[in-house]
């Protein structure tokens, strides 16, 4: 009996081992091929558009008339750039100062308070940010515009940027805290022992040392901000125009895709144009992501 049971047990083990390893390898290959599948899918779908229009015309024309087959992405690209740039401009100093404050000036208890705050901020769904934007930010921006004697409904690029900046703060702040904590203590001790004040040490030694890391954290923030959809769409106004000021309405790329998916099958070439928008998003986000990760890796090797 035993002599039969033993090899049985062994084969079962071998089978289980090879079975689970097979599935693991499948998952591994799936992840490797996923970016390629995504990219080729989007390229194939939008490539037919390139046969009829030149790339320059698509990217740098401001005529958006889907019904007559004119697709100029310039207003959308510019809106996206404006919003992303403004949001990172607002979020960057806040994140940097908070990260320095938490890691250098306060006791551990503050970090313990800030961790849940960051986690909850990161976990709030984007549609909730949008509701908050409509409730508070939009009226506030409308009021701000009236200080400058500008007519604005409040649904503007600035509102989108403010909402977006709060959304990327937890993301950027988390990376910055990690970066400041990974700087060896000896470095600041050496600087302090040479007579520099604490602020001088932070400004000239720590921030110098962390500089590539800081830049790449902002880059990752940009990549996060560029693709954000629902929250921005709710507060940005969605008017197809080249924005000429921060109090004007804009129409970023993700909002374009989200607003028009319903009609895209009924108008010829419209679906390909929207897929091209998705492709642009994919490429821009990936470039920022790759660049920032490269910088971070470089920085980690240096330490």
């Amino acid at each position: 009996m035993k002599a039969i049971a033993l090899p049985n047990f062994k084969t079962r083990r071998v089978l289980r081992e090879s079975g689970s390893e097979f599935w693991m390898k499948c998952c591994y290959i799936l992840i490797w091929t996923m970016p390629i599948i995504l990219l080729t899918g989007l390229i194939i779908k939008s490539a037919t558009l390139f046969q009829e229009k030149s790339v320059l015309e698509l990217l740098f024309s401001s005529k958006w008339k889907p019904l007559s087959g004119q697709f100029g992405f310039l207003p959308f690209i510019l809106s996206s750039l404006w919003i992303t740039f403004l949001s990172i401009l607002i979020a960057a100093p806040i994140c940097l100062l908070t990260a320095i404050y938490i890691t250098q000036y306060t006791k551990r208890i503050v970090l313990k308070i800030m961790h849940p705050v960051i986690d909850i901020l990161a976990g709030i769904p984007s549609v909730i940010y949008g509701v908050w934007g409509i409730l508070i930010i939009v009226p506030f921006v409308a009021k701000m515009a009236s200080w400058f004697n500008i007519q604005s409904s409040g649904y503007s690029i600035l509102s989108g940027a403010i909402v977006l900046s709060v959304m990327i703060i937890p993301f950027v702040l988390n990376i910055l805290i990690e970066i400041y904590r990974s700087i060896p203590l000896e470095l600041s001790e050496a600087s302090l022992s040479l007579g520099a004040t604490k602020w001088e040490t932070i400004k000239k030694v720590l921030t110098q040392k962390a500089f590539p890391g800081i830049i790449s954290s902002f880059g990752l923030g940009v990549s996060r901000a560029f693709g954000e959809t629902i929250a921005v769409l709710m507060v940005v106004g969605n008017v197809v125009q080249i924005p000429r000021g921060i109090f004007q309405a804009g129409y970023p790329l993700p909002a374009l895709i989200a607003n028009n998916y319903g009609e895209m099958l009924s108008i010829p070439m419209y679906d390909r144009a929207l897929m091209l928008a998705a492709l642009i998003l994919f490429v821009v986000v990936t470039i920022f992501n790759l660049g920032s990760r490269y910088l971070i890796n470089y920085y980690e090797k240096k330490i």
């Binding site: 083990r13 992840i31 995504l38 779908k45 908070t98 705050v117 909730i128 994919f282």
Partner: protein, 292 residues
């Protein structure tokens, strides 16, 4: 003269530091205040219109003109969708995370490059996943359905789940894995019987985090899951989701429907907060029981 200059410089240095410290405290408060403002504004606007019928009834005729009904369809739909997507993602993520950390333990390069790919996938906006999912659906001739929504959201949360599991599994001491090997257990046995057991609270945190992502995301389901007033009874039916119900009700011009959008936002916020607090509790427990 020289002495006076020195004093001034010292004063300047001190005041610069002081100024920046004020800015630092200010920006820290801004972040905390932003969180409080978000939660407070949603609660103040939404709680008055929250009622039992909101969470226990599906929309009735004329609901979108301010008549009776609730958003049970969206609550149940969202739970179905994110549970399905989380389970599906788990089937891929858990083996993959274990594979990276145990089977490929020695191949540093392979591990680093797959982490890189995962980070890259994590960064891709959910609207791109949504558009891609929609494209596939059209190609295959499918209609908007719960299944399509689950597949798209699963694709979108797999990188998040693998990376957060990976962060937990990274902390397992090498000695534990090596001693399991030396006692004759196979790689998969080590992975599922020893490492998994050691890390289970952390892994649950990772799963909950992904669940929170899945339930809060609107852009990926906008194309693929559709919207309906009924609770889906099979995978091929379209389903309503909470974020979209907030979004659609808010774009209505009728104030009563808008108020319901705020109430739906409160429900969504509460669900997400519960998930966040539970996962925090799990990760605290994890820190207590860890073998070092």
């Amino acid at each position: 003269m020289k002495r006076k200059f020195r004093v001034n410089r010292k004063l300047l240095k001190k005041s610069e530091e002081l100024l920046f410290r004020v800015f630092m405290i200010l920006s820290t408060t801004i972040i905390i205040m932003a969180l409080l403002a978000i939660i407070a504004s949603i609660l103040i606007k939404g709680v008055p219109s929250l009622s039992w019928s909101m969470i226990s009834e599906t929309p009735k005729g004329g609901y979108y003109f301010g008549k009776e009904g609730g958003i049970l369809n969206a609550i149940i739909g969202s739970l179905y969708l994110s549970t399905g997507a989380t389970l599906l993602a788990l089937v891929v993520s858990l083996p993959l995370a274990l594979y990276i950390n145990i089977h490929k333990m020695k191949q540093k390069r392979a591990v680093n490059s797959i982490r890189f790919i995962l980070d890259l996938l994590w960064g891709i906006p959910s609207i791109v996943y949504g558009a891609f999912g929609f494209m596939l659906m059209v190609y295959l001739g499918l209609r908007t359905s719960l299944l399509a929504g689950i597949l798209t959201v699963a694709l979108f949360i797999i990188p998040i789940m693998v990376r957060s599991m990976d962060e937990v599994l990274k902390t397992v001491p090498k000695g534990l894995i090596e001693s399991a090997f030396s006692l004759g257990s196979t790689k998969s046995e080590t992975a599922f019987r020893i490492v998994l057991r050691q890390c289970i609270p952390g892994l649950i945190t990772a799963v909950l985090l992904s669940f929170g992502r899945a339930i809060g995301d609107a852009a990926a389901v906008l194309f693929t899951a559709g919207y309906t007033d009924y609770i889906p009874t099979s995978l091929s039916q379209p389903t309503a989701t909470l974020p979209l119900s907030v979004f659609f009700q808010l774009s209505s011009p009728i104030p009563e429907v808008q108020n319901r959008a705020y109430a739906s936002a409160v429900i969504l916020t509460i669900i997400v907060l519960i998930i966040s607090i539970t996962s925090r509790a799990f990760s605290m427990k994890y820190q207590k029981n860890k073998i070092k």
